[in-house]
Amino acid sequence: MKRMNRQMMAYRLAQDIPDGAYVNLGIGLPTLVANCLPPDREIILQSENGLLGMGPAPKAGQEDPDLINAGKQSVTLLPGGCFFHHADSFAMMRGGHIDICVLGAFQVAANGDLANWHTGAPDAIPAVGGAMDLAVGARQTFVMMELMARDGSSKLVKQCTYPLTGLACVSRIYTDVAIFELSGGRAGVIELVDGLTFDELCSMTDLPLIDAREGASA
């Protein structure tokens, strides 16, 4: 089995974003997708802090402290981009105007429940940001994560044990070993990395998966 690294995951996910899509990339892992967008497509990135048409990082020395993304990193604005206030920014999300958001996750349940904001550990300082708004507001919520946690457990679960971000909101999960489509309360596998069998994947997740790959018998 050849696991994908994070860059490859980002590249793979980016291929599934159609031309003309309005996309919000969550902080952390999803940010990598910005650099992998197919150059022949026009994809418009929204940043929760009031940018539409966000461009790549500026050249060294050209950073502007007033031009940052949700992760507070310096960015640029493409021609055709614009600025707006926070209420309008979240109206974009909550009002269903963003086609796709990509979020990281601690856990995703087969029914689409998402946990990505708080480990629930008693000494952790919780922080939620815009995750809950994106999870329920975007037309589609994609998750990008390694399938297995550091302790070897699957992050795709029957039921989340971490505090929830949103209910039944995730439609796809892009992992380092497989891509899952969540629908009707169940997880379908639509792609596997080379060298991994469907049965091996099932044993990794301990979940009843559906083989939904092209050509697979349903």
């Binding site: 055709g80 614009c82 600025f83 707006f84 209420a87 105007h97």
Partner: protein
Amino acid sequence: MINKIMASAAEAVSDIGDGSTIMIGGFGAAGMPDQLIDALIDQGAKDLTVINNNAGNGDRGLAALIREGRVRKIICSFPRQSDSQHFDARYRAGQIELELAPQGNLAARIQAAGAGLGAIFTPTGYGTDLARGNEVREIDGVMHVLEYPLHADFALIQAFKGDRWGNLVYRKAARNFGPIMAMAARCAIAEVSETVELGDLDPEVVVTPGVFVQRLVCVPSALEAAA
């Protein structure tokens, strides 16, 4: 490539079906998308529910749509005016249904739809005939009524300039309902006096970000009319 600019008003409104709910921008004649409405009249869609502040002025725009008998119901705040004769006639003949809303609740409900809110408690209208039947609640010592968002299938609005991503700027008080209607409709269509190259609109002054606009059409004559 994203290009929301359509070749003609006719093309822009071609898929508006009978029975659609349509927001139409404008406060009186200012901001009224006359050319999109003319195209809609030509297109023939009927049985429409229209959301506008008024019920048409004079013989153009919304007034013409009403005159042609295409509007089954209108949701507005101020139908009766000195020059609302086409609405008046159809209303008195029982040929058009009227849902009257206080103007601020109308605006707030449109905004709520665009922002994905489920409902709002507003103090406006409490204790009046226009909130009869609404759920009421006292909040911080003030009585409020519950109002639900107003969504639409299409919004027809007028703006000043736009680009192929759908970014819009408006002209003076013609702005009125345009920005919030664009957000509240499944498909927002703008007629603009001028289309400009991407990047020509200063990102600080864009009033309606392109994400809220699905189609725009350039109608240069509106510019001349305003000049």
